[in-house]
Amino acid sequence: MVGLSEGEKHFIRGGIAQDVRTDGRRRLQFRSLSVQTGVIPQANGSARVRLGATEIIASVKAELGKPSILHPDKGKVAIFVDCSPTAEPLFEGRGSEELSAELSVSLQRCLLGGKSGAGAAIDLSSLIVVDGKVCWDLYIDGLVVSSDGNLLDALAVAIKVALSDTGIPKVNVSVSAASDEEPEVDVSDEEFLQFDTSGVPVIITLTKVGRHYIVDATSEEESQMSSAVSVSVNRHGQICGLTKRGGAGLDPSVIFDMISVAKHVSQQFISLLDSEIAAAEAEEEAQ
């Protein structure tokens, strides 16, 4: 992205102070959101999400694996983010490694809950096939196709939509005589299990510019930010994750206020997202 002149920077900050952003939005207004499911037939679940000019493709692949020693009754979920050079020239080579790692860790923090498994968006116990021996491993990949700010929110939306599109094959286990033998598993080609994604949270990023904060910042607005707080909120209004970004320090009362605003904004955003998912699924079935 080409650097901004001082006049442009001043215009952006002044506009935000007046509650009119350069594209005409208000401070707490999102860009248009469009959702598409089933874009990658080979994956167990996939989705394409466009938030303004930011575009994300997310896919979910399920493989049979072995549960971890610490949690033999739970499946495993891994989240990876790939910032493609097609999205931004800065993402060439190793330039995107730090951003990808940061985004994937933030998403893991928001979606996978605590280490005991409580508060996770997905019920990991439903991924168990045989306790301690066989479980489903979910690999969630997010690909940034086009980048115009607010990547974290768009990635969270794409993952939620991809999970709602995910079908896990049903597994039949033949009981072997000896309990220490490896169980034989038969993966069905016809029957699929679907996830309950009502507990999957959305991420709302509030970006502080001057003395105000905005949602869904574009790249230009992000370049003017002093700091930002990404809040992950689920349907019940519980905070599932929180990440502060940007270098400047924030007063604690400002952070608490940002959390309240994020909870308020997330209510309508979740409703909007639910209707978009329903429309996308209806469109996919119509094909």
Binding site: G113, G114, K115, A118, G119, Q238, I239, L242, G249, L250
Partner: protein, 261 residues
């Protein structure tokens, strides 16, 4: 130039202000009623581990610091300000470069610490707000942190130790940065968790705080929290950060005293 002092224990129990004290007493009663077990190392829920910090363990560095909190041992070296590599573009503010790594023997399972690759960027964000970058344009300050032993709450200790090392190097800062984390279990919140406690937590919260300016430079949260619990946990962390800030200042004064003698 080496200062060494005995370990100091700090606890956020002594809070300022009547309302806050009442709230903390109420919280303490609530925690006590729900569970009355002391922690494995004998601490109560809101006690931090003994903190030992020392400046100047590395002579080759501009500044360095060593920190020991219970079983967690961290050493941080600071180099610079020094000339930036030519590949980097011109910048009228200084650059802060942070790197966090684990020794192969730092964890119970050999080589396990390599998974924490996001710690470098989190350390950078925590320190960026405190360092006066405009005082060394066109140059770079490198912060290298090495975890010698991982015993829980690694990142907060790295952040506190790094800010002490930056001060030891003479880098101009608005304030020291101190950091503390809490773990959340069903109903209880415990501060400064060990690795055993971390392994079973329902959620966690890490706060990096500038005590004198009362600003938060880093805040990350995992798991499911309600609003009230976040507020309580953040205030608990800020209390502990202020106590830890006093300890850091004492270490720096000890160093200055030795230099004057």
């Amino acid at each position: 130039m080496s200062a060494q002092a005995g370990p100091g224990t700090y606890s956020p129990a002594a809070a300022a202000g009547d309302r806050r004290r009442e709230r903390k007493e109420e919280l303490r009663r609530h925690l006590a009623e729900d569970a009355d077990w002391p922690r494995a190392d004998g601490r109560s829920f809101h006690d931090c581990r003994p903190a030992f910090m020392q400046t100047g363990p590395t002579t080759a560095a501009s500044g360095s610091a060593y920190a020991e909190f219970g079983k967690t041992k961290v050493i941080v070296s600071v180099f610079g300000p020094r000339e930036s590599k030519k590949a980097m573009m011109y910048s009228d503010v200084g650059r802060l470069n942070c790197n966090v790594s684990y020794t192969t023997f730092a964890t119970p399972v050999r080589g396990q610490g390599a998974d924490n690759k996001e710690y470098s960027s989190m350390l950078h964000k925590a320190l960026e707000g405190a360092v006066m970058l405009h005082t060394f344009p066109k140059t770079t300050v490198d912060v290298f942190a090495l975890v010698l032993e991982s015993g829980g709450s690694d990142l907060p200790i790295i952040i506190s130790c790094a800010s002490l090392a930056l001060a030891d190097a003479g880098i101009m800062m608005y304030d020291l940065v101190t950091s503390v984390s809490v773990s959340c279990f069903r109903k209880n919140i415990i501060i400064d968790p060990t690795s055993d406690e971390e392994a079973w937590q329902d959620g966690s919260l890490v706060v990096a705080f500038m005590p004198a300016r009362k600003e938060i430079t880093q805040l990350t949260l995992t798991g499911e929290w309600s609003d009230g619990r976040i507020t309580n946990a953040v205030e608990l962390c800020m209390d502990a950060c202020s106590k830890l800030g006093d300890i850091l200042r004492d270490r720096l004064k000890d160093t200055a005293t030795l230099t004057c003698e």
